[in-house]
Amino acid sequence: MGTHAPAGLAQPAPSDVTAVVDLDDHTQRDLLRLATAGSVDDGKSTLIGRLLYDTKSVLADQLSAVERATAARGGGGAGVDLALLTDGLRAEREQGITIDVAYRYFSTARRAFVLADTPGHVQYTRNMVTGASTAELAIVLVDARKGVLEQTRRHAALTALLGVPNVVLAVNKMDLVGFDEATFRSIAREFADYAHVLGLPAVHAVPLSALDGDNVVDRSVRAPWYDGPTLLELLESVPVARDASTEPLRLPVQYVIRPRTPEHPDYRGYAGKVASGVVRVGDELRVLPSGRTSRVVALDTFDGPLEAADAPRSVTVRLADDLDVARGDVLVPAAEHVATGQDLVGTVCWLTERRSVPGARVLVRVGTRTVRGLLREVDARLDVDTLTVEQWDPVDTLHTIDATDTSTEAAPRSLGLNAIGRARLRLAEPVVLDDYATHRRTGGFLVVDPADGSTLAAGLIGPTLLDRLAPVRANERDDDWLAGAGI
C-alpha cells in the first residue's frame, strides 16, 4: 500500500526530519500553534499542502481524493494540486480561494503543530485575526515575483498588533524568478524595514518553492547561496512559550466547584486555566475586582493534588478563607498592583459588516467576565498600508450622535469590517485591565452585540501599535477612507 509521489512533484529528497510517527518520542513532544498569512494566489494553500505532504501527514485516501479532484478540474498534467488538500468548502473549491480559517495538524519527532490556515482575501481579514490571536509563530507568505504587497503589510501589521512572538517571511515561487538571490534579498530587506517600524521581533526570511518543495521540509539545491534553515527547521526550533515562572500569575475563575455530595459536603474550589505565570500552594492571592486576599491551600486535579501549576494548565484552587469568589473573578498575586477599572481604552479590530455605532450599548468580555458597556467613541483609525494613524478630535459622541441611525453619513467616525481603530468604552462594572502588550493571555477582549450575540470586535487593552505610530490629522488626508479597499 506504499504511497507514491504525485505525478509532477519532485520526489522528496532524503531528510533527517523524522515524520509523523515516532512512538517513543511523543511523550516529550510539545505543541506549537502557528498561523499563515498572505495574499490571494501567493500559494499559501500549496505551501500548507506541501508541509503536510513532505512531513508525511497526508494519508493515501486523502491524496487519492485530491488526485480525483485535480483530474475533475482538467488538471493532472502539472501534477496534483496540493492546494486542494486544504480548501475544504464547496465555495472555496469553486472559487479557488480560502474563505474561512481552517486548522491543520502535522507533527515531527520534535513537535506537534496546530496550524491556523487563514484566508488571504481582504474580505476575510478578520479570520487572520482569529488565527493570529493564539499563534506563537506566523508565516507571512510573499510571491517572489510580486514582492511585498498591501495585503502582506496588512497581515504583518495584524501580526504585530496581536503580539505574535515569532514571524517567518516565506518568499514563495522562487522557481519562477530562477532562484535569484538579489530578488530574495530585496524582498527580505523591504519586509525587514517594515517589520522594524511595526516593532515586530526579528524576522527570518526563507526562499522557497511550495510547488516543488524547495526549502519547505527539504533543503533546496537550487538556492546554494542560502545557508539558513528550511521552513520546517525554523518551525521546530522556535521557543514555544516564554518562561512561565517569570510571568505574573493570572487565573481567571471559570466555574465554582461545589459537589454538595456526602463525600464532599463543604468542598468549594475555583476552577480555571492558568492564563500566565505559576500558582503554588501557599501563595497569597488577591481576588479581583473585589480586592480581598487569601492563601492557596490546595491545587486539586482529578489525578491528585499539585504543588504548583503553570500556564496553560487547568486546575482547581482552594483558598484558606471563605471568600465570595465567582465566575469572572481573576486570581492574581496579592503583592502585585494590578489595574482594574470601568473605563477601557483599547485597539479594536472590527469583525462584522455592521459598522461601529458611537454610543452603542454592547457587552464586553474580558477573561471569563462579561459586563455591559457603552461604546463611547472611536477616536483613531489605523491605515495599515501607510502605517499612519488618523486621529480624530475628541467629541462626546454620546450626546451628538443619534445611535439609532446607522447610515454612513450619521457615523462619521466609525469602523467597518476589517478596520482597526482605537475605542473608548465605559463598563458597568470594573474588570482587570491588563495591558495586552505585556499580558497577551489576559489583555484581549471581545465586543459582543447584546441583541444577537454576534462578536462585533476583538480588542487589545492599553496602548498598542496605534499609539506608537505617528498620528495624522483627519483633515490632512484628502482620500475618503470610508471607500478604502474592502472596508
Partner: protein, 314 residues
Amino acid sequence: MTTISTDTPTVVGAPGTPRLTQLDALESEGIHVMREVAGEFERPVLLFSGGKDSIVMLHLARKAFWPAPVPFPVMHVDTGHNFPEVIEYRDRTVAELGLRLVVASVQDAIDDGRVVERPGGSRNPLQTVPLLDAITAHRFDAVFGGGRRDEEKARAKERMFSLRDEFGQWDPRRQRPELWDLYNGRHKQGEHVRVFPLSNWTELDVWRYIEREGIDLPDIYFTHERDVFARDGMWLTAGSWGGPRPDEHVERRHVRYRTVGDMSCTGAVDSTAADVADVIAEVAASRLTERGATRADDRASEAAMEDRKREGYF
C-alpha cells in the same frame, strides 16, 4: 474544610521541571472548554455514542468538574442499528457514573413518520432529525460533540463553539471569529451551540490519551472474529439491519473497528490489534484516515460532510 486526598502533591511545570507536553496541553484545553460551557449555558448535554471520541470527552468532563459529578446529562442518538457491545458499554458507563441518559431514537422517528428510511439502508444521515427534535424538546442550549478537525476537510473549518440556528444549520460563511480562548456562547432563543472540545486532537492523540489514562473501551475496537461481507471496499457486519444482499457473501474474519457508528455504514478493518498499544502501532502505520477507511457516507461526494453539516448533522 474537607480533605480531598492524602497523596503526596506532585510538582508540575514549576521551574526546573518539564513543561506541559502536547497531550497535557490538549487535555487542559478540553477541560477549559467544558468548564466554559458549564459556566455560560443553562442546559448543556454531551453526545455520547459509546465511541472512543465521546468516551474521551466524558473522561475530560469527569476531570473538569471533579470532585463534583459531571453537571450535565449525556445523549445518545440511537440509529436502531447499533453494535450490541456498544449499547452494553453505554449503559454500564451511565450506571457507573450516575449520569442521566437521554436517547434520541431514529427508529421512533421512522415509526412516527418524521423521517423516511433510505433505499441504501444507511441510517447515519437520518440521525439529524431525531437529534434536532431532542435538542428542541429538552431545550438543550449547548451540545458537546466529539468531532475533530483532522477528521474531514469541512470539519477542519469548524470552531470550538459553533452556533446553529433554530433549524440546526451550520453556515460556514457566518461563523464567529474565535479569538484567544474567549469563547462566545451567546445565542438567541431556539438557537444552540455545538461545542467540540476535541477539535485540536488527531486520531493518534485520542489513542495515545486513551493509553496514558487507561480508559476502558468497547471490545469492538480490538481484534475479534466476526461475520462480515464486503461492500464498497469495506467489511460490513451482517445483521438484521439489511445486509448482506443476495450477491454478497458472508465470511468470518479477524477485524476491529476504527470508528463506531451505524452498522449499515461503518466498516471494520482487518486487524490483529488486541490492545491499545497494538492499535496505536496500527493507526500510526496506516496510510488511510479513519473516515476514508470506514465510513461509506463520506464518500458520496466531495462535499458530503459539508452538506450534511449544513443540515444540522454533527
